[in-house]
Symmetry: C2
Subunit: 407 residues, 2 copies
Amino acid sequence: MRLSKSFVKTLRDASKDEIAKNGVLLSRAGYIHKGLAGVYDYLPLGLKVIENIKGVIREELNALGCEEVSMSALQNPEPWEATGRFSDQEVDIWFKTELASGGLLGLAPTHEEPMIEMLKTYVSSYKDLPLYIYQFQTKFRNELRAKSGIMRGREFLMKDLYSFHTSEEDLDKFYSVVEKAYTKIFDRLGLGADTYETFASGGIFAKFSHEYQTLLPVGEDTIYYNADKSLVFNKEVFNDAVLAEFGASQADFTEAKAAEVGNIFKLKFKYTEPLGLNYTDDQNEVKTVYMGCYGIGVSRVMGVIAEKFADDKGLVWPEAVAPFKYYLVGIGAEGTTKAEELYKGRENEILFDDRDARPGEKFADSELMGIPYRIVVSDKTLSSGKAELTSRATGETKLVDLSGLFV
Amino acid sequence: MRLSKSFVKTLRDASKDEIAKNGVLLSRAGYIHKGLAGVYDYLPLGLKVIENIKGVIREELNALGCEEVSMSALQNPEPWEATGRFSDQEVDIWFKTELASGGLLGLAPTHEEPMIEMLKTYVSSYKDLPLYIYQFQTKFRNELRAKSGIMRGREFLMKDLYSFHTSEEDLDKFYSVVEKAYTKIFDRLGLGADTYETFASGGIFAKFSHEYQTLLPVGEDTIYYNADKSLVFNKEVFNDAVLAEFGASQADFTEAKAAEVGNIFKLKFKYTEPLGLNYTDDQNEVKTVYMGCYGIGVSRVMGVIAEKFADDKGLVWPEAVAPFKYYLVGIGAEGTTKAEELYKGRENEILFDDRDARPGEKFADSELMGIPYRIVVSDKTLSSGKAELTSRATGETKLVDLSGLFV
């Protein structure tokens, strides 16, 4: 992409009501634009980051045999009323709206109910199960406050996977498979080292659910982890009774702030029973389908990555999610010509800063935008057939032979 | 994709309130699921069709230097109030909702206002123009009735492109470029032969806008075309005064029903002036930005294609939009083994009907689903080293050497 042809510019300041670091930096670097608190537009670079995160998740889920769908935002209240979740007392973050032809609709804050409702058309026999179905879909949550940038949105992108089984054993087995996939996903997204599978409240249908918590000073959650981080608890279940079950005591744990980037939950019959998602088993008996759900906050992950790796110069993207791998600057007549040559055929890998601007300005923007590698070709570097390659993460600069630049 | 592993099945009947042919066939063939009237979920095959249509549009727009973004559904009323379009009297298809923290929001039925509002951050000088920005985004329109399947949704997917210019000449020039791109897009989508650029009402800021109308008996529009279809008018502008301008008379035209699949519009200052999207020209004078907008109804296009090409056996997809190019059936022991072999490495091209079902059922499903080519390998075809290849569109069947099957 040529920066000279893009409408995106870095900004000196984010909008004045933007408080969160991720919101400020992503706005200043031209990734997002705030429509209203908790509601953002994704500009070309931001959309690429989102698509990269989706790509990693999609690959890992497809490898498990999961099927991708796209469900609606507008929601018929009926199935939600059957589970008791349409009530504003029960779920206090609904956006609701009126049909012109009469009747109230909701804007989906999650999709368990419509997913089950839809499957009633497709599941009738044990032969139809198990099923694993996911989507990337915009969710709407009417938060009273939204001050965390894209880490907590009123409108945000989520990956939600639902699994359906004939037995608790089969649910358990798939749940373990998803646990491994989630570890792999967060590893690939660059968050692996500081993201822990965390015991959290399981509600009334299971002792625990699991959250994936990424260490982050501004995270909304408090977690407790032991020395080797093999045992991590959300504050809500960190008590002596729970610890006793694991043969541990409070003294073994360290407190930290963290942001929830994913959660997985054995719902069992919680929603399938009131909605009547049944199947006939091989003895011709009608039984209720077991269900699990598995979320990853896609736009939140982008916010957490932005927040976590940023330094005083700006964003620092891991390669897997960066909108471009390289930021290219040509200096001087020869450098400019060579930069054009290098760019050709690599338009999807290179953010080419071909603007009529001073090198210092370009360098500052490359840092603010957080592109993993900056390539500078100047008359000077070219005199020895080389380019200057700088790593955004480490700041390390080296001269590299042009022939080995993209190897 | 293996059909045995998918939750999708063909259905004998669509939901009883589904009237439109596209809605009935797409539901029966397992492409979509109706949430409520005019609101649909896209199942794995349906999502693939949507992604294929998006892919064609994206390629053609990127080739023009257009940039892709993704804007929010939730809308701050302010910019819409500035153009007069937040009023339900002016725009009668709004879905509106309340913020928990107070204040009314709208669900975007289109995105001119937020796009302009966002660009006020990025455009200040003539050097920032022209710009071409598009998105694929869910739109919400509170239609009183929604009985046309996915051809007229309350929630639907649209591609909207907006262009911004310093002069009317530059707007005109880009408008012509988009006209050519649209022709190419509808050609590639298989609709070219029956899709005409049509003069339609231009509102108060331009004499005409252009619609892209696809001939369709159940289309909502009436158009009039001359013998070589070089001159086509929407009924709304088909009168003697307009025809006189083109040196034509009513007798030269044939009436037909059609469905609007795209529209392009020179908005000029219509929205940029009230919203104050200005730039400073090279004489340092402040001027208003010229604007154009260019829509394609992505989910509607899917509905129109479904509706237009279907026959009494089911859907018939053009290759460019089909979810899979081939539908594969193995019959008998050898045929089943060979089918597994053929499938391997072609999982993205082949819908493999590996279900435990009779060949006749598989053939009927392949026809209902509308996959362009059916491949059958049986012990009989294999005895001469061949497979049977059947075109869904023509019904033509031939025996093809296995070695030449995918050439």
